[in-house]
């Protein structure tokens, strides 16, 4: 054994070391327990309200009759539109920054700018959306305004993830492609994008799950909280979304609405966990392939 553990040096060194390990392990399991406890609490609270009718009904002034259909449909529209906008723009930006832009000071500035955009609170994007999309572009409180605002929120996430996975493609692939006479875009389209696809998809899925759970920017652009119809026209109709509906119900003083909110959270979490599980599986397969 080492000198410091000897009887004359530090008699409690070994004990202290073991205690510390136990303490750290305890902290870890506390985190996991908290997660379990939270999920269990929500599920047990909302279980009774959860039913097929609940998913298929419109909101109501009475908790027993409240349903989540317009919020669910609104949320699905929202992430669909957000994906439509954010994926091409985000991946395009990543390709430009990694493969096209000269490595000069401007590129560094844009890069720092994107890192900082990722840290801007989502409600600030909401204020931007309010000024830009709702008022300046006259989109009112439509799905379009909501989706564009959410696009801005998740764009930095998509860009950073796509950049990282493009960077992970070995440069030998680039060199080989250029050596065969491929142009820059041919190299990107036929070699780099397929190789980086799993990583990009992981990033996109994480970004979309963020968009799905985001309520603050939607509140800021003034999205409706009580909608009794399904949105049909994406640039005119008012809409609501799952997190927004949950927020409204939680904000009610009556206990009944809290149960309905819990059921809404279960629906939201089921969708989210499906999406996240997909991300984990994709990444797992990706890292397997690389080895």
């Amino acid at each position: 054994m080492s000198l410091t553990n000897g009887p004359h040096g530090r008699p409690y060194a070994k004990l202290a070391s073991r205690m510390f390990a136990l303490f750290c392990a305890g902290a870890t399991w506390l985190c996991v327990t908290i997660l379990m406890l939270l999920l269990w609490n929500v599920v047990s609270y909302g279980w009774d309200s959860l039913s097929w009718e609940y998913i298929n009904r419109f909101p109501s002034r009475f908790a027993e009759k409240a349903g989540i259909k317009p919020a669910l449909v609104g949320s699905l529209y929202l992430i669909g539109l957000t994906a439509l906008f954010s994926v091409p723009i985000g991946v395009g930006t990543a390709i430009y920054l990694e493969e096209y832009a000269p490595k000069n000071r401007w590129r560094t500035i844009v890069q720092i700018n994107i890192a900082n955009l990722a840290g801007v609170p989502s409600i600030v994007y909401g204020i931007l959306g309010l000024g830009l999309f709702v008022r300046a572009m006259q989109l009112n409180r439509s799905l379009m305004a909501g989706a564009l605002t959410l696009t801005l929120v998740v764009l930095p996430i998509v860009i950073l993830a796509a950049q990282e996975s493009l960077r992970a493609v070995p440069s030998t692939i680039r060199q080989a492609s250029y050596a065969l006479g491929a142009t820059r875009w041919q190299t990107v389209w036929c070699q780099l994008l397929p190789a980086a696809l799993p990583g990009i998809m992981t990033g996109v899925i994480l970004a979309l799950s963020r968009a799905l759970g985001e309520a603050a920017p939607l509140v800021a652009i003034g999205a409706a909280t009580y909608v009794r119809f399904l949105p049909e026209d994406i640039v005119n109709d008012e809409f609501t979304a799952l997190p927004l509906q949950i927020y409204t119900w939680t904000d009610q003083p009556q206990k009944g609405f809290h149960e309905v909110a819990a059921a809404g959270i279960v629906v939201l979490l089921v969708v989210l966990i499906c999406i996240n599980a997909l991300a984990v599986i994709l990444r797992y397969r990706f890292s397997k392939n690389k080895q």
Binding site: L3, S17, A27, T93, I127, G213
Partner: protein, 311 residues
Amino acid sequence: MSLVAPAREPFAAKSSVFDLRWIFEFAIHGVLFVCTAISVITTVGIVVVLLFESLQFFREVSVWEFLTGTRWSPLLKPQHFGVLPLFCGTFLVAGGSALIAVPLGLATAIYLSEYASPLVREVVKPMLEVLAGIPSVVYGYLAVVFVSPLIRDTIPSADLFNAANACVVVGIMILPMVVSLSEDVLQSVPNSLREGAYALGANKLDVTLGVILPAAMSGIMAACLLAIARAVGETMAVTLAAGATPNMTLNPFEGIQTMTAYIVQVSQGDTPAGTLEYRTIFAVGLALFVSTLVLNVFARWILLRVEEKYE
């Protein structure tokens, strides 16, 4: 000869294909450049929208009153426009949640990085990612339904919605962020430092607390700052948990209002656009944007220095 390709015509055709290809390449280059420009325009847009409306606000309310006033009641008569109570509420929640998240998160990160078996890591890390993926409105719900009654049972004098309530849920919320960022930093400490310390006869505790932690300290600071910035910008959980009374207090058991919660309150109300009351959200938004920006820039700067140190 049939095996030899005829060496004529194609040249002319080839060069025009060649031209088209380069036009296409050029167009693609332009499209990608426009994509990149969008992120820059977003930043400019945020700054312009916030500044434009705030300037109109500051035409009627002096910057000095806004920054140093200790009362915030723009929606009630007599109106007061001192942002300090909102600022105080925001940092009370951010500080309180950091007090919960940093010790717990750091210990977890140390365990995962230095002690845990690969199997435990494989199990715990995805779980923490799930925790990180839970939307903030869910934490708001938990604050209202579970944490608030718990706190009221323990401390009967506490307000129904209070800062402690928000601290607990926001603390849990930023926990995964602290863990994953700190763990990255701990992992980036070169193994030669660990091996060197073991070679000198140190035990695991000495290595972890005496060598790894000091080496990773600045990175961990940055991680904590990023987590605090996240807590400052956190909206739905805080709106639901902390109440809606701008309050200049450090007592966590009183109701407070944060900058984000105020923006939500006005957005949800029926304040007509274009009024002074309405413009307050842009001024508060600007204050919020600047606070998180400063925290983020500082943290990124520290992280950048850490990276340089070990590369």
